[in-house]
Subunit: 463 residues, 2 copies
């Protein structure tokens, strides 16, 4: 934005406590649990949204959680379960009596029940399925036959559809006469006689139009049909890219079988981002409420990979033991080159991994991006080479040492830019998640090249 | 999910090319540009969504971009501009003739124009404002008086509202009679006589109800009112947390002045995530289409911080020059301890930064999380201490060296867990973005502690 408007604009209200559960409210709830006051507890919980109750249950300890749920009893709402983190969900379901659990899940839409049970163990799955009415159970079981992470798991089966030859009046009369409309819907899906979706009509458009207007003349410009087996991350991408609000889902014969709405897509987008961030840091799937044991297990593999990387770097150093004994300054300075390369490589790879995820890095621009990253590595390398060259001369009084570290810096940062881009692109090509694996490869390259370039040049120049 | 369903479920269709622009399509378009065939170009571009055209413009080089835009001429759609990456947007606006630009922006909603011009330089801003009709210009200028990143910038000013005492019939007649309804709306906002919003009625509910039903009896259970100065990240959080589709925006007197819809919130959520990922990697705001110069400038500060960190680590090593000269194996092994600590610290800090962003890490559980991270560091530290102890003994034949590296490993990984959690929490408390600054602090701690613990213990035990 321009400076003028910046001066005019008042401060944004960036209240960090907006939407954070108040500590006082939590304390009051826990006090009601302490004194076993069920009425007070219900009164305090009543204004809270299910998502906030779920957050609170995640944040208090297991003992308080158990006492709270026991005291809360049959007030427990099914929506709280769907909002709960997976790691806590099983525990909470185990705390509910069969009657409370049955009541809770019976309130839910079929897609929420699917979301709820897909990660549960068989006995808990069965308990929930048994609690459902027959028609709901069939719907849930049907959804569960679609692959995990597919559009089929994400869609709701309740669809509002109309024949493509209807006019507005016919559609409105039909809606008014149906007594089983979904809780939330934003479009009427127009279908041909073989139930294939041909377009979406927004409810707002329908309300504003005269009764005799044909539905086909009101269809949305942007219309996307989603195959039931499509990966849910791609579904979320389409919603985000094309600003969709809802989209019809079709089976292998292109027949309409469900609809996905933007709130489901938003949840998937959120999860995908979360996964990418955690994977880039070498933390698989994880949650704040995981136990010490689970967390240790999740973190271990990446640390083990890193150990192998670090040992490989050590093997490079070991080749130069004599040089280090002769010029101990080499040991002092060598981590700098490796560290700078590692950081520059991480910068490049993060940009590349994100651009791959958002489909911004493609065959059309990959060579231009690689060239850019190498140039950036070269320029920043030269800048830091100058700095470190001077440090080398001033600190150790050796122009030759300054020259060695400066050259190694340039080499390693160019390599970092190259490896940071090429490695994720190649991993994506061969079908490995670049967010998960790039870090280890890039660090190995920058460590090995960093130590080898620095110590190797030192042997050539200094000894 | 259980094993049974896993066996039943077929493969998810994870087609990496879903929604990626086909290389062939791009090649055909560029060929039409090459042979200067305007009709062919228009024919090829016609089926593409504005978002896809924007992606293509970002991916081709600047020369092709210029020729394409010149040839495409007055077909250029305003929506393409809003979809373009900021770094390319200015360039593209510069390429459009004043008439094409005027036509393009006149098609847009006021909130899209705001989004478009807020990052432009004053002359381009003025050119676009001049192209607008008077009423639109006033709306845009009004929105620009709200702070950047506020709900005011995000909202659309076109609101569909109704008095709270109306019934369904009155609302439907009103909608049918208005000829200026927004393109997309999902709720009717009920307001009291002082224009303060009291509830949302979903269009679907309205359509299904009988004419004499009171609107107040159809209000949504979840209803959130957003102050106009609220930070847009908090708005996005509320949409995600409470599964909102649209929410009314109010001024300082609680009067309804606009509405924010989920697609805007989704875009903000996406940007926030992107920023967090890039900041964690020390790459400020950046885009794939930034120039070499801009990219170099963005990456430099974080690398400079890292250089300071690395030099501090070197100063620690320099204190132990004599020890390294005596036992050169120390130089070989010392990067391992620092590297493992750095990685463990990055794992902890990433989890903490994410949990702070999603408001899952609060005063209620911070001590439990710190305890968990320290325990995880201890257990993983012991595991890797065992491995490295053995490596030390086998590689260098020195049990004492094995003991030193094992102890340093445990110390550094416990410190990593502690620093990785405490540093982001403290940064957040003092108002610094933990995603941006945690990395440098945590790495400094693990480097310094890693080298100091390893070399210090070595002096005590080995010399």
């Amino acid at each position: 934005m321009s400076d003028d408007t910046e001066v005019l604009a008042p401060e944004t209200e960036r209240d960090d406590d907006a939407y954070t559960l108040e500590r006082k409210a939590v304390a009051a709830i826990l006090y009601a649990v302490d004194i076993n006051d069920r009425e007070k507890l219900i009164e305090l919980m009543e204004p809270l949204h299910a998502a906030d109750i779920a957050d609170m249950l995640e944040q208090i300890n297991a003992f308080d959680r158990m006492r709270l749920i026991k005291l809360y009893g049959k007030e427990f709402d099914g929506e709280i379960l769907t909002e709960l983190d997976e790691s806590i969900r099983e525990e909470v379901i185990g705390l509910l009596t069969p009657e409370v659990l049955a009541d809770a899940v019976r309130e839910l839409d079929s897609d929420d029940v699917v979301d709820l049970i897909e990660d549960l163990e068989q006995p808990q799955q069965d308990a929930i399925l048994e609690a459902l009415e027959d028609s709901d159970r069939v719907a849930v079981q049907q959804s569960m036959t679609y692959p995990e992470y597919s559009a089929g798991r994400l869609m709701q089966r309740e669809v509002v559809m109309a024949p493509e030859h209807w006019n507005v009046g016919e559609a409105i009369d039909f809606l008014r006469d149906s007594d089983n409309l979904p809780d939330h819907f934003y479009h009427i899906v127009l279908v041909d006689p073989r139930l294939r979706p041909v377009g979406n009509v927004a409810l707002g458009k329908l309300m504003a139009a005269r009764r005799e207007v044909m539905l086909t003349s009101l269809m949305e410009e942007t219309f996307h049909v989603i195959p039931v087996t499509r990966y849910d991350g791609d579904v979320a991408y389409a919603f985000n890219q094309y600003h969709l609000i809802s989209a019809p889902v079709v089976d292998e014969n292109d027949r309409l079988i469900g609809v996905i709405t933007i709130d489901d897509a938003m949840a998937v987008l959120d999860e995908e981002h979360e996964e990418d961030i955690l994977r880039l840091a070498g933390v698989g799937e994880s949650s704040l409420s995981d136990s010490v044991f689970e967390t240790t297990k999740q973190r271990f593999p990446w640390l083990a990979v890193n150990l192998v990387t670090a040992v490989m770097a050590s093997l490079v150093i070991a080749q130069f033991e004599d040089a280090i004994t002769t010029v101990v300054a080499l040991a002092v300075l060598m981590p700098i080159v490796a560290s700078m390369g590692g950081n520059a490589g991480t910068q490049s790879l993060t940009v590349a991994v994100r651009a791959l995820a958002t489909k911004d890095l493609t065959g059309a621009n990959v060579f231009r991006v690689i060239r850019r990253e190498v140039m950036v590595g070269l320029i920043n390398g030269l800048a830091f080479a100058l700095v470190m060259g001077i440090v080398g001369i001033v600190w150790f009084g050796s122009p030759a040492l300054g020259y060695v570290i400066a050259s190694a810096m340039v080499i390693n940062m160019v390599v970092a830019g190259l490896a940071g881009t090429v490695i994720p692109v190649v991993l994506e090509k061969v079908g490995v998640d670049p967010a998960l694996a790039s870090g280890a490869f890039v660090t190995t390259v920058t460590d090995v090249v960093g130590f080898f370039a620095f110590l190797g040049l030192a042997v050539l120049v200094l000894l």
